[in-house]
Amino acid sequence: MAAVDVKSPVKKSRGIRLFGHRMPLSAQIGFLIIFINLFLMIFAPVLAPYGEGIVPTDMTKWAPPSAEHWLGTDAIGRDILSQLLYGARLSIGLSLLTTIIAFVIGIITGFTAAIMGRWVDVTLSRFADLILSMPTLIFCLVIITVVMAREQGFVDATGVSNAFFEGMVIVLVIGFLYAVPVFRLARAVSMNIVALEYVEAARLRGENIWWVIRREVLPNAVPPLVAEFGLRFCFTFLLIASLSFLGLGIQPPYQDWGSMVNQNAQAIFIGKPQPLFAAGAIAILTIGVNLVVDWLLSIYSRAHGENA
């Protein structure tokens, strides 16, 4: 806001804008929350007063908030603030990775179904229905339990660390499951686009399907997909947290926000506020992302001319 654009012929109304759209206060708050979270996540090693998973020598269980431990300590005396900052890396990082995987799979299959039509569409859609007919959390639990049972064999064979293997299993399973709703959205959105004549013109020209997806369909399907990305990120984030809470997600010594809630849960019974910090962090980030998504969706649903 330092430099005033004198040359601008049209006087823009006041307020913060993004891509030429005016941003309401709620979206600004949402962006602020996301930026703070990303900032804390990236600079966790600098900001955290203690290292990841380190139990200080002056170990005190359930220490109340103090000058040394701003948010107190947990059941084995770890600094909650430090754990929260490092947990952000796992929670947010894994959710992002998972959501990206879900989107890559979902968009490619969804667009293919819409463009190829006929039996490709029928096969993919019925398979999607099959997956959707099972509750996500339970499906996750089943697959993860089965895969984890063979964990040691796989780890020995490939030489990856246990933590890495577990992380990847979670990411791939949720990524796959959440690719299904993305598939449905991508298919519905691109069905409308595929019916337009510029896509027909490209097919008449003899373009291959990959070109049609990349150049004709994708650029026009971006707004609803971006909105879905935000929403899906929240769901992934919550699902990973739920898995961790149930003890199947991130394993010690690493902690994400979900497992922090789980491991600090007992403190509730002795009237201590510790579990609330991680739970609060989950809630605030979810709300922040949703505020931004709501705004994106409202732009998308506006009359066509206003987007141009």
């Binding site: 510029y198 008449l204 003899g206």
Partner: protein, 551 residues
């Protein structure tokens, strides 16, 4: 029967609009002025035609007479006096009372305006019942009477049907019945026949006129087609960019227009009878031969049945017919979007595979297509360089630098400035977009271009420019056109051969001059006689002719 428009007398003044001004206001501040200083008066029983291109402000004025403006638009000046009361001073309830009761509106697309889940009775009688003007039986009886007046089939049971069970023309008339049920003082017709076929348009137009005359209702008739408005209006107002260009008696506007713009509008229709197509050195070998082609969509009904046509180099073949006649399907079969079920399509002597996927790149290149709606035929996220350059790159493997030079050349060729090369379709007007579509087709250096209703989404004068451009390109490049259209004016203008289609079959086929001169095929004659002509007594003449024939 033959009451000529000028001889009629009118009652009291019902509507007086003075210095109307309507502007767009957005969050970012004031936008364009849609209607600027327009004044009009309407007396009981009088029909005023509002005519102009899209964006002239016709519909905006029509809605304003009901005290309504679309979201983002505001009536910022002037008076709209309905029977002595200014609508702008009325409060919400008074305005709502006026709508439907004092002023009623008939929209362009009846199919989109009716609720598919309710019967016609429920929708037609709704307003009268909700206002408590009539009892249900009374309203139904009134509706039946209106159905009779509008010459709808089985008036007693017509209202029990659902909107999808009646034809487009019937639905449009049902909407007129809905408007008339409360006996309003003013009817607003907003392009009510534009979406209809020519043969249906005649019938609908005739019943609208009868309705207006018998009830002595005042009406605003909004259209872009001067020949249509000539049949129904007593006076005509010509609008352009929200400003009044000329207003006068219908006969005066048609026969002695004062303003240059009106003259051009009138002239566009009169020149429509000269053929632009110039005979070139005759070549005997056809480039496209379609023989005994049959095609259907999944079901068993044949959408096109046993159609044979051929096109030579430099030919323009017009394929005409009403909607549903199979003319667009024929184009889809030729390009391979719909595989034929029997018959043969040969191009330059070689048989083309039925399916698009089986054709070679070179076979695809030789036949290009231009669409009806330039808005959806161009990817809004690509620049003109990408849109026009892609065929050059794809078919000829040209380098980026070469493509850029060629696209600039092509833009000049279609009369667009070279500086447009980095623009996107959203920054162009409808006519400019259609030029880009033409350029994209030409970039493939085709031998045949299929034009699917290329001018019907454009304003008259813009469409005329596109036709001239196509004609010029044909003279320069010798490309052949297959011109699919329902507009016989266009056919006369551009084609040297005509194929008339009806229910999937070819009913007449040959040289334009032969088809359009007697002896006619009966269906060709019906089509030809249904094209509105630029004189006030045309409709009377057509109706009386048909009456005589019927007897």
């Amino acid at each position: 029967m033959s009451t000529t428009a000028t001889a009629r007398s009118f009652g009291d003044q019902v509507l007086d609009v003075e210095d109307l001004r309507i502007e767009v206001h957005t969050d970012a501040g004031p936008g364009p002025v849609l209607v600027d200083n327009v004044s009009l008066k309407l007396r009981q029983g009088e029909v005023l035609g509002l005519i102009g291109e899209s964006g002239a402000g016709k519909s905006t004025i029509g809605l304003a007479t009901m005290g309504y403006s679309r979201s983002g638009c505001f009536i910022t000046g002037g008076k709209i006096v309905f029977r002595g009361k200014d609508i702008r001073q009325m409060n919400r309830e008074q305005r709502q009372d006026l709508r439907g009761h004092g002023v009623a509106y008939i929209a362009q697309s009846a199919a989109a305006s009716f609720n598919p889940a309710l019967t016609l009775y429920e929708q037609i009688c709704e307003i009268a019942l909700r206002r408590g003007l009539m009892k249900e039986e009374e309203a139904k009886a009134d509706a039946v009477r209106l159905f009779k007046e509008l010459e709808l089939p089985n008036p007693e049971s017509f209202g029990e049907r659902y909107p999808h069970q009646v034809s487009g023309g019937q639905l449009q008339r049902a909407m007129a019945a809905m408007a008339m049920i409360t006996k309003p003082s003013i009817l607003i017709f907003d392009e009510p026949t534009t979406a209809l076929d020519v043969t249906t348009q005649v019938e609908v137009l005739a019943s609208f006129r009868k309705l207006i005359r018998e009830h002595g209702t005042a009406a605003l008739y909004i259209t872009h087609d001067l020949a249509v408005v000539a049949q129904i209006a007593d006076r005509i107002m010509v609008l352009r960019h929200g400003k009044m260009i000329e207003v006068g008696d219908a006969t005066q506007i048609l026969q002695a227009p004062r303003e240059e713009y009106t003259r051009r509008l009138v002239a566009e229709r009169t020149v429509a009878n000269q053929n632009l197509h110039q005979e070139r050195a005759a070549e005997n070998k056809p480039i496209l031969e379609v023989t005994n082609v049959v095609a259907s969509y999944r079901s068993l009904t044949k959408v096109i049945n046993d159609v044979s046509i051929d096109i030579k180099r430099g030919d323009t073949l017009a394929v005409v017919g009403e909607s549903g006649s199979g003319k667009s399907t024929l184009a889809r079969v030729v390009v391979g979007l719909l595989p034929r079920s029997s018959g043969d399509v040969r191009f330059q002597g070689e048989s083309l595979p039925p399916r698009l996927q089986d054709r070679t790149r070179d076979q695809l290149r030789r036949i290009q297509m231009i669409y009806q709606m330039p808005d959806v035929a161009l990817n809004p996220r690509q620049t003109l360089l990408e849109i026009i350059g892609r065929p050059m790159e794809f078919y000829f493997g040209r380098s980026k630098a070469e493509v850029k030079v060629k696209v600039a050349e092509m833009l000049r060729h279609i009369d667009l400035p070279e500086s447009f090369i980095n623009r996107r379709p959203g920054e162009l007007s409808g006519g400019q977009k259609q030029r880009v579509c033409i350029a994209r087709a030409l970039a493939a250096e085709p031998e045949l271009i299929i034009c699917d209703e290329v001018t019907s989404a454009l304003d008259q004068l813009v469409g005329e420019e596109i036709l001239r451009l196509l004609n010029r390109l044909q003279e320069e490049l010798g490309v052949a056109y297959m011109f699919i259209t329902h507009d016989l004016g266009t056919v006369r203008r551009i084609a040297n051969k005509v194929a008339v289609m009806l229910k999937g079959q070819l009913v007449a086929y040959g040289e334009t001059a032969k088809i359009f001169n007697p002896p006619f095929h009966p269906y060709t004659e019906l089509l030809l006689s249904s094209v509105p002509e630029m004189r006030a007594d045309w409709l009377d003449e057509v109706l009386s002719k048909r009456d005589r024939k019927a007897r």
